[in-house]
Amino acid sequence: MPHRTFFWFILPTALAMILFIGLPIVSSFFQSLHIENEQVLMEVENCDPFGCTTNVRVDVEATEKIEAENPLGRFNGFGTYTDRNHLAFDEIREAWDNTSSIGEFKDIVLNLPFYKALLFTLTFCFAVTPPVIVLGFIVALSVNTLAKSLKGLIVFGTILPMIVTPLIGSLVLFWMIDSQGIIGASIQILFDDPNLSLKASSNLTWITLIIYGIWHNTPFAFVVFYAALQTVPQDPLEAAYIDGATRFERVRFIVIPHLYPVATFIMLICLMDNFRVFEPIIGFSAEGVAQSLSWMIYQDLRNENKMLFGSAGATSMLTILGIAFLLTPVLIRTWKEFKTER
């Protein structure tokens, strides 16, 4: 394609991307470099049904004046990035100097909010993605062999988990795994332990979230694999059949190599999706034991007080970096394949 044609072809998309993706990222980045102006406090007398007391409050007028002079807040550079609630450089350095064993150091680091969230996010990503690809592939293969009359209905049933809003899906499961819910009660009977609760221990909560993640994401892999299966050339399959290849061998040597690029694509999307895991944490009320990076952003913006824009911006930037880092190997691979195909 000549460069000129390409330019005009891509222009509308590029404009939309700059407007709706590029500028917000730049703006978030800018926000993340600033913190709020200093709050001017003053002493006032408060009277309520329980009596009068002297208390401090924010001097709104004085604070607004500072705000008007300096609407972005105070410039803090990368201070928010390195503070305790994010990368926590000082705390890590201190921990490194003061601990004698790696285990101790690890405990301290994983107790810091950002690293705690990162650990869960990565665990979720890497525990969910491979089973999703494998299960999606198996389901697609099975559905593909069904009689035509059944296919429509089965396909619909299979993609249901994806159609259900994540928050609703996780809430439904949340009540089912309750100790009085059908799954929770069954598990208690099965293990003969009336105190067993999937919500009470952090390990079991993580496992529940991961299983939910697999349940929710498998239909996506299934749909893509199923579509790709329709493009598998029939001739080599028939030839293999005549040569006496078993069903397993045909899948292993013809179907899988054909679907390989599709699997890479699914992995890419799944990693990206799972890196920003959020709704199940809210749905399962798992904030206490499982925090993700997205949940941290939510927490900053839905604080009891004013929104912590700087903090949320910093976490967003770190999330973008994280996704970029995670996807680099996959992208490099795709690029190499693209080049060799040419």
Partner: protein, 411 residues
């Protein structure tokens, strides 16, 4: 002196005669859009607000347990998403910090003739809210279960723990105690109660520097830990409404929740045997302290700054009509402790009155308190799960608070 008293009397008389000429109810212009917490007493209150607003009013109300998280963003917009907000002494501070609610003196003068003076929440000489009810968390117990085992009604947390252990040991209930320990605001609130009960102060005097990592904080956490061990293992996911369900299912014999819970626990729905067995008791003291380990709250109405004067006036009229309705209070005497004029307290008001008379601390209204509460909400979980020490958890609370307060410009 005599002259002063006479002058005051005359001024009071004149206010009630002249300023009271405007009846608040029957709103015909402007739109009313209220944001409020979600629990039964508020529903009852809102029904009265709606009927006061009248059939011609453009009336909307949003009930949400996430009202605290929504309020600042919703009222910062101009025009604000809501014209009015039901606030408490906890949730009013973030709104005051940003100047998001307006002084109500002129509206009170015009429509508030039937208000008690103690309903007017005055900050720096101006009325910013009108309170209509008082609330506090206190002890609830099942009388028959305590009687059967010969347990006296506990008046300290040490006795509560002993009682719960006894009930558990007797095999009557697996998890006899319940409290709203859901990680988040509720868990933070449990610590606030227990820390104040131990006589703790959240900030170093005269500053915004945190002050929870001390002996009192550790003692408070240890009591909470013991209580959670006697609670449903899912305690980290249970808020007040979930605890009430546990109670109504008969799984719990002792709990520490809001007085306003009476509105739904003592209504005609659910197991009437449990209802008949439900008793209210004052909030216990803890660690040898003399103040109950709870906080006093008022709930009131506030009007958004960023709304038109017309909407502000119509919203205020409907809300203040309910907040001064003697009928509302006396038709629902057990829904809560109303602050409304002419209210005769019901059977359930006792624990709140008791808390107030024993000098219980109202929930702290420092501008930076909500940041502290937020830090408590997230950093205590690991201790309760047994993954870290109390000292470490409290050090984490202080560190998380400092990072947030620095970003917000308080430190």
């Amino acid at each position: 002196m005599k002259k002063l008293i006479i002058a005051l009397l005359i001024s009071f008389a004149s206010t009630s005669v002249f300023a009271g000429s405007h009846s608040p109810c029957g709103v015909t212009s402007g739109s009313i859009n209220i944001l409020a917490n979600e629990f039964t007493t508020y529903r009852i209150f809102m029904d009265e607000v709606k009927s006061c607003a009248g059939p011609d009013a453009d009336f909307n109300v949003t009930h949400s347990v996430d009202h605290n998280k929504l309020q600042v963003a919703a009222l910062s917009a101009n025009p604000a998403e809501f014209s009015a907000k039901l606030v408490t002494n906890g949730s009013i501070t973030p709104l005051m910090n940003d100047g998001l609610i307006r002084p109500l003196d002129d509206l009170v003068a015009k429509y508030g003739s039937n208000l008690n003076d103690n309903q007017k929440i005055t900050i720096d000489g101006k009325i910013y809210a009108v309170a209509f009810m008082a609330n506090a968390q206190h002890l609830w117990y099942r009388e028959s279960i305590l009687n059967d085992l010969g347990i006296a009604v506990p008046s300290t947390y040490e006795e509560v723990i002993a009682a719960a252990e006894k009930i558990k040991a007797a095999g009557v209930m697996e998890n006899p105690y319940a409290g709203a320990f859901k990680s988040g605001w509720n868990l933070g609130q449990e610590f606030v109660n227990m820390y104040l009960g131990h006589g703790g102060e959240f900030f170093k005097s005269g500053s915004a520097q945190p002050n929870v990592n001390n002996e009192k904080g550790v003692a408070a956490l240890n009591v909470i830990k013991k209580l959670t061990e006697l609670s449903n293992p899912d305690f980290l996911t249970q808020d007040t409404n979930a605890v009430k369900e546990e109670w109504e299912s008969g799984n719990v014999a002792l709990m520490h929740i809001w007085n306003s819970g009476a509105a739904s626990l003592l209504d005609d729905e659910g197991d009437q045997n449990i209802k008949a067995d439900t008793r209210l008791a004052p909030s216990p003291t803890v660690g040898g302290g003399n103040k109950p380990a709870t906080t006093l709250w008022w709930d009131g109405i506030a009007i958004a700054t960023n709304t038109s004067d017309e909407n502000a006036e119509s919203s205020f009229r409907a809300l203040v009509g309910a907040a001064s309705s003697t009928d509302l209070a006396n038709n629902n005497p057990n829904a809560t402790v109303w602050l409304i004029k002419g209210y005769t307290p019901g059977d359930t008001a006792g624990p709140v009155v008791d808390a107030a008379s024993r000098g219980t601390t109202p929930y702290p209204s420092f501008p930076h308190m909500s940041l502290m509460h937020g830090a408590l909400s997230t950093e205590l979980v690991e201790f309760l799960q047994g993954n870290e020490s109390a000292e470490k958890a409290l050090a984490d609370v202080e560190a998380a608070y400092i990072a947030k307060a620095t970003e917000q410009g308080f430190l």
